[in-house]
């Protein structure tokens, strides 16, 4: 297990996926505190994105009694309670407490085989970190997918539901794919009903949000035979390469799309001509300057130096040409100060 000490909880990662199923209910098999602080976090981040959102989360409310005598009965009761609402899918997430006391969650859920239950093994920090939670949830939910005829369309895999720019990134990918005449069939998993996941096996191409999801991409390719692109595009050249890659995999001639995007990027470069030669600083950010910024350094003759204006180096990096444009606007605003 290679988990970072400060990455956050596996449970939170999994919840960021399972609570994005609009007709789903997520059960946290753990103490109320886990449900409370995760609900609060998800609520806060969604409200910040102007979305009224109360995650459908139930807690098995493990207390000292269950820690001593086991929490399987509490899980059974909570599953029954959730079933009354007839959810499209019932996701059961484990916590470090249920893992430490050794509850057999799979066995409990097998007794409810008439319900659409998906068990996501999360185990809190005993199961890794946030990104493992996302990965486990996506792989577990992919069991709802069905193999089908390839439909010539694309599925987005693992959009970062807690990311402030998630919708802006989606629009950028939609725009780029439209240059190739392709549309997005499914957002796995972002604000979709459980039934929509059935189409998972029908996509002609999966596009992963970032390379950390490579195991998810491999699992889906192995199960449904769907090829994948490992990440949303970053940088100007990266965006053009993305178009070429998607076109090649889907058997579409991408020359026109790449040329159109090149013109779009040339306009962008021209509109930011006045940042040419600026001296910038990444501030206290100790991460190495990503290759994206090497590209920007060359195009705009920028230099990074501790005496320069401190500009944000976002993590994750901006997506596509539009994302880069927004970043350059922020940099230019700072350079004007």
């Amino acid at each position: 297990m290679n988990s970072s000490r400060n990455e956050g909880c596996t449970l939170t990662g999994a919840l960021s996926v399972t609570t994005a199923i609009t007709d789903g209910i997520t059960i946290i098999h753990g103490p109320d505190g886990c449900a409370h602080h995760n609900s609060s976090l998800l609520h806060a981040l969604q409200v910040d994105s102007d979305r009224l959102f109360a995650p459908d989360i139930l807690s098995t409310s493990l207390s000292e009694t269950e820690v001593i005598f086991g929490g399987e009965k509490a899980l059974e009761e909570t599953i029954r309670q959730a079933a009354v609402c007839e959810p499209g899918v019932l996701c059961v997430l484990t916590s470090c407490v249920s893992a430490a006391i050794g509850d057999d969650v799979q066995a409990v859920c097998r007794d409810f085989s008439h319900l659409p239950i998906v068990v996501v093994p999360t185990e809190g920090f005993l199961g890794g970190g946030f990104s493992q939670g996302v990965e486990h949830a996506l792989i577990a939910l992919s069991d709802l997918g069905e193999t089908g005829e390839q439909n010539g369309r694309v599925t987005l895999i693992g959009e970062k539901n807690l990311e402030y720019e998630v919708e802006a990134n989606y629009l950028e990918i939609s725009r780029l794919l439209s240059l190739l005449g392709i549309s997005i069939d499914l957002r796995f998993v972002r604000n979709i009903p459980a039934a929509a996941v059935r189409n998972l096996g029908s996509a002609s191409l999966n596009i992963l949000r970032d390379p950390s999801l490579i195991r998810v991409g491999n699992a889906l390719e192995s199960h449904f035979g769907t090829p994948f692109v490992p990440a949303f595009p970053v940088g100007l050249e990266g965006t053009r390469v993305f178009l070429e890659t998607v076109g090649r995999i889907l058997g579409i001639d991408s020359k026109w799309a790449v040329s159109a995007e090149q013109k779009n990027q040339n306009r962008l470069i021209e509109s930011f001509h006045n940042i040419r030669g600026m001296v910038l600083s990444s501030g206290t950010n100790t991460h190495p300057i990503p290759s994206l910024f090497e590209e920007l350094q060359q195009i705009f003759d920028l230099s990074f130096d501790s005496r320069g204006k401190t500009v944000p180096i976002p993590d994750p990096l901006p997506v596509g040409t539009s994302g880069l444009s927004r970043l350059l606007h922020r940099w230019r605003r700072i350079c004007r100060e």
């Binding site: 297990m1 988990s3 970072s4 000490r5 400060n6 990455e7 956050g8 909880c9 596996t10 449970l11 939170t12 753990g30 103490p31 109320d32 505190g33 886990c34 449900a35 409370h36 602080h37 609900s39 609060s40 976090l41 609520h43 806060a44 409200v47 910040d48 009224l52 959102f53 109360a54 995650p55 459908d56 989360i57 139930l58 807690s59 409310s61 493990l62 207390s63 000292e64 269950e66 820690v67 916590s95 470090c96 407490v97 430490a100 006391i101 809190g124 920090f125 005993l126 199961g127 890794g128 970190g129 946030f130």
Partner: protein
């Protein structure tokens, strides 16, 4: 765990360590906006022992603080990580309040009662308790309580939990509360400051006990405030029907607010959802431990006005809304607002009347509220 950290982080001079993973740490660290430390445990620490990691962190930070408090999270509590017996660690405050032990309030009280406190029987003034960093009224309550007590000639000795550790070494034998849900073991409890009536009674009781002072100024201010409230509510009722109300928050806060709305606005109380353990009350109070229960209460009898958090606001965005308990998202809140004392009651009634009027006026001119 969060309740315990909330209590301890309010005491200046105490270094607080969450003995657990980053996932457990981020929530209290984010919402309390205080420096809190963490052992950032990973699976390997649980297998090979996390106590050494905790000892190292204590050693690293102890010179910066007068005392160190360690709050156990679930897994270290289950595996029985213990450092109390290690040499040099005898003075560490250990709070065993993992999430599965109970509620926020239980964690808060566990930490509160574990603080190194010494009561001085001759100490003048009173202590204030029930102050909790997570409470949106925390700072406002401290300021209003201090003002009211000062106007009655009564000094505040210590604030649980928002003062310096040194102040705990010689506290008053008498305590008044800003929030009885969080009242603890320190000092003889002489009532609360929730509401104008209760404030008057508490101040008179303190003066009678010899803690102060002269209550005249406060009584005069209270009378004037009540007249303002009556006048404003009467004006409202000339044009509008009383609102039906759903209240959510801690037991003491919600029951106080329900009583105020019934008294001055003849409001009907559709439901009270308490996040803390309900006690006997003339109102029907339901313990609400989940959003599903909150949703059920609101949808069963939809109210005109919701007093609660942004969770409840979301469930029925068409209702008038008054922010009352955490979380409060999607709005800017910068100033200190009290709920206790005279300004607290005035402020709450002001918010209620404005929210109800805004909702009615927006409806009649066809525009929705900000989130409607």
């Amino acid at each position: 765990m969060t309740g315990a950290v909330s209590c301890l982080a309010g005491i200046e001079g105490v270094g607080v360590i969450i003995h657990g993973s980053s996932g457990c740490y981020y929530y209290p660290a984010t919402v309390l906006r205080k420096e809190v430390h963490c052992t950032f445990l990973i699976e390997e620490d649980i297998i090979f022992g996390a106590a050494q990691r905790l000892r190292e962190l204590i050693t690293d930070i102890r010179s910066r603080y007068n005392a160190i408090a360690v709050v156990h999270t679930c897994t270290p509590a289950i595996i029985g990580d213990d450092i109390a017996d290690f040499p040099g660690m005898e003075d560490i405050i250990i709070i065993d309040s993992p999430g599965f032990f109970g509620t926020f309030e239980e964690g808060y009280r566990c930490a509160h009662d574990s603080l190194p406190v010494s009561i001085d029987p001759n100490k003048k003034g009173v202590n204030l308790d029930g102050i909790n960093l997570l409470d949106p009224f925390s700072l406002g309550n401290t300021m209003e309580a201090t003002r009211i007590l000062a106007n009655a000639g009564i000094a505040v000795s210590a604030v649980f939990s928002s003062c310096h550790l040194e102040q705990l070494s010689q506290i008053s034998p008498v305590t008044v509360s800003a929030n009885p849900d969080l009242s603890g073991a320190w000092g003889e409890n002489r009532g609360s400051l929730l509401g104008v009536d209760q404030t008057k009674n508490t101040i008179l009781g303190l003066v009678e006990r010899g803690c102060g002072g002269n209550p005249d100024e406060i009584l005069k201010e209270a009378e004037s405030a009540e007249q303002h409230i009556v006048r404003s509510c009467d004006k409202y009722l000339q044009r509008f029907d009383p609102p039906s109300v759903a209240l959510f928050g801690g037991f003491s806060y919600t029951v106080f607010a329900a009583g105020m709305l019934e008294k001055y606005l003849d409001a009907s109380i559709n439901c009270i959802g308490s996040r803390t353990l309900p006690r006997p009350s003339r109102f029907k109070v339901t313990a609400t431990g989940s959003l599903a229960m909150v949703r059920d209460l609101i949808e069963r009898d939809p109210p005109d006005l919701i007093i609660g958090s942004s969770f409840e606001r979301m469930i029925r965005p068409s209702a008038a809304f008054v922010p009352f308990t955490y979380p409060l998202r999607g709005m800017v809140r910068l100033r200190a607002r009290p709920l206790v004392g005279i300004q607290g009651e005035l402020g709450l009634m002001e918010d209620v009347l404005n929210a109800c009027k805004d909702r009615i006026v927006h409806r009649s001119d066809g525009t929705a509220g900000a989130l409607g």
